[in-house]
């Protein structure tokens, strides 16, 4: 049966050699190489659930009055967009399940990308000849953040509206071009014209997904062409041998299993754990706000930065050159992404190592890189945590201003400390291994001497 199908395909397309090659592709067998796959599968879930949502979402901010079944909002004025999401959550069959799964998938997608990035960074997998793969990966991360922010904003509930206000003011703060770009995007001042929502919508459901999907395809194809990296498994292994598990029957079935497991986890969350209960937030109007509004986690680092930067503007004469939101909202992410983009080149400069590398290093093998990475992760993490200081105030009663003051010091001290500790730990681990190796050699020698 299968053989017949294969022959049918082959006689008409001549694909057998390609298929055979694919099935014999050798996968590295370390678990950390699977993190990127989780991201891929979350993306698939996102597209699938997203398509379902497009059947019911209305990309219009025309004001309507709600007469649906949800009593607390009956008679309220709201945008058509918000009403359509209310309907998805209340009346559309499986609408809430799909909407929540979509949102959880977005949260998990970005988490998985970041874990995958950690693996790539801390093992040096981005080195030649995989620089382009890495750059595409970082670009996808950036696009994904924007894409997720767009999706969150489209709903037009109270929280997303407040998020849009912040995004708008950050955009405005870009020197020279900010005002023009924002008025071009919004088609006028905030809250923009009726064209804004269709624009955001087309960006969210077409432009960004197609960009991400294309980059993803290239990313994966390039990995296959350059082949995966792998950990050194025997002392004699060179950069030229490829070891691992064949795609079939080793890797592929397990990958498919992982895909179903990822989808399963996401749908379970979508069905069992509430996310963004927009019916509780109510519709957005420019004159209302709520205390304790927070962005989704993947933008928390930007809110933290906006809060930590002391309030000052760069003023020249009467002209405000750089308004305050620029530092936290634009400069900070630029520094982080700038580092990610430039690091491979910087590393080549520092080490003078321009060779091809198919074997990755364990984090301990390269203490400098590991220390630097840990330092930067700690830095961003602290800024991120500072973003939730208002909630911490409510929960733990540590005053908001003193928290901010403490964080302003900590974000400089702790990363250095963390980097120093990481460096030391790497060295100790390597030294420990050497001792072990020597002991083993001595034992072997002793055994040899005895016989």
């Amino acid at each position: 049966m299968i053989r017949r199908a294969v022959r049918y395909l082959d006689t008409r397309t001549g694909t057998t050699p390609i298929v055979r090659k694919t099935l014999r592709y050798l996968f590295p067998d370390h678990w950390s190489f699977l993190l990127g796959e989780i991201a891929l599968y979350a993306f698939i879930v996102l597209v699938a659930t997203g398509i379902y949502l497009t059947f019911f979402f209305v990309d219009s901010t025309r004001e309507v009055v709600y007469h649906g079944p949800y009593v607390p909002l009956q008679g309220q004025h709201m945008s058509e967009a918000y009403r359509s999401v209310l309907n998805i959550s209340m009346t559309v069959r499986a609408g809430l399940l799909i909407r929540q799964t979509h949102h959880w998938a977005a949260n998990v997608f970005i988490a998985a990308i970041i874990l995958h990035l950690f693996r790539v960074f801390f093992t040096g997998a981005y080195r030649k000849p995989r620089g382009l793969i890495y750059v595409i990966g970082v670009t996808m991360l950036m696009l994904t953040l924007l894409e997720a922010y767009l999706g969150y904003s489209l709903v037009d509930d109270l929280l997303s509206g407040m998020g849009l206000v912040i995004g708008y003011s950050v955009g405005l703060s870009i020197p020279f071009v900010g005002a023009n770009v924002m008025s071009w995007l919004f088609h006028g001042p905030f809250p923009g014209q009726s064209t804004l929502w269709p624009r955001m919508y087309i960006a969210h459901v077409l432009i960004f997904p197609v960009l991400i999907g294309t980059l993803l395809t290239v990313h994966v194809l390039l990995v296959a062409m350059r082949h995966h990296t792998q950990f050194r498994q025997t002392a004699t292994e060179t950069e030229r041998t490829v070891r691992g598990v064949p795609a079939y029957p080793g890797q592929a079935p397990r990958s498919i299993g992982l895909m179903f497991a990822t989808a399963g986890v996401l749908f379970l969350l979508g069905g069992l754990v509430q996310i963004n209960p927009i019916w509780l937030w109510g519709p957005f109007h420019t004159y209302v706000s709520t205390n304790g509004a927070q962005p989704d986690w993947y933008l928390g680092w930007l809110i933290g930065a906006l809060r930590l930067v002391p309030s000052f503007d760069l003023v020249i004469g009467k002209y405000t050159l750089v308004p305050n939101p620029f530092w936290g909202g634009v400069a900070f992410p630029l520094v982080v992404f700038g580092f990610l983009y430039l690091w491979p080149a910087i590393e080549r400069k520092i080490t003078g190592d321009t060779a091809f590398h198919n074997l990755v290093e364990r984090p301990r093998d390269n203490p400098l890189r590991t220390a630097l990475g840990i330092g930067i992760v700690t830095w961003v993490l602290l800024v991120f945590i500072a973003g939730s200081s208002d909630r911490v105030y409510v929960w733990l009663n540590v005053s908001y201003t003193s928290q901010i003051d403490i964080y302003r010091v900590l974000v400089f001290v702790i990363p250095l400390l963390a980097a120093a500790i990481a460096h030391r730990v790497c060295e100790e681990l390597v030294a420990g291994e050497k001792v072990e190796r020597d002991e083993r050699a001595a034992e072997a020698e002793a055994r040899l001497a005895r016989t």
Partner: protein, 245 residues
């Protein structure tokens, strides 16, 4: 309304004696011998739209605050204040119901003030309540009344506020909270607000486990410590099987 005042005055006559004694014991240091207040001006923070500048750090005058304010501050445990300068917080109520009535009667007798309100949430409209709450209160108390942060104060979550206390708070404007007159929020509207605050204590939690009803922060925690942790564990398991393959 007049009937309430008359009633309050009648009760006051009976129990002011006991009330005065308790007052002397617990309140006099801050509110003065005859409720005239102990002045000591100081600046505290304000709300987003409103900076409240001068407020007595000791205790304000209680003349004319009426049974309404006394009842609110005593039944929430806000008074007696623990430390001068602190924001009054909900805490263990020190007095028995009878003692509270006596104290309230005594304070009401210090000047003519408003009586304890009787909100009727069952007459209110939930949708109107949500709308009014979003307009007037959510900026401080958070849209589902989970509390928040403003300069100089912590607007509390309203989980423990009773119907009467909600109505009282709106009319008093304790600490940095603005005071809403009957023209700003009518009694009918107040009924709707109370109805909403009652409802939001057990909101419509379709969609599953509500993780606190405050949105993104706990959602991020679930993303990392539940979902991501689970998926990484899966990777480890699958990775082990690959090694064996």
């Amino acid at each position: 309304m007049t009937a309430h005042v008359a009633l309050a005055v009648a009760i006051a006559a009976l129990s002011t004696g006991q009330g005065k004694q308790l007052y002397g014991q617990y309140c006099i240091s801050c509110h003065g011998a005859n409720g005239e207040g102990v002045a000591q001006a100081r600046t505290i923070g304000g709300a987003p739209q409103r900076i409240q500048e001068q407020q007595s750090a000791r205790g304000p005058s209680l003349r004319g605050v009426g049974a309404l304010a006394a009842d609110f501050y005593l039944r929430t445990g806000y008074m007696p204040l623990h430390r001068i300068g602190d924001q009054p917080r909900r805490s263990r109520v020190l007095f028995s119901d009878l003692e509270i009535r006596d104290l309230v009667a005594y304070i009401a007798s210090l000047g003519s003030g408003p009586a304890i309100p009787r909100p009727q949430p069952q007459l209110g409209n939930l949708a109107e309540g949500l709308h009014l709450f979003t307009d007037h209160c959510a900026g401080c108390h958070q849209v589902v009344a989970q509390g928040g942060v403003v300069t100089g104060a912590l607007p509390p979550a309203l989980d423990d506020a009773t119907d009467v206390q909600i109505a009282e708070a709106v009319r008093i404007g304790p600490y940095v909270m603005p005071k809403f007159s009957e023209t700003a929020i009518t009694n009918t509207q107040l009924n709707s607000i109370v109805r909403y605050v009652d409802w939001i204590k057990h909101p419509d939690n379709r969609g599953g486990w509500a993780i606190g009803d405050i949105g993104p922060v706990p959602e991020g925690l679930v993303t990392w410590f539940l979902a991501a942790a689970l998926l990484v564990a899966l990777c480890v398991v699958v990775g082990k099987r690959l090694k064996r393959a």
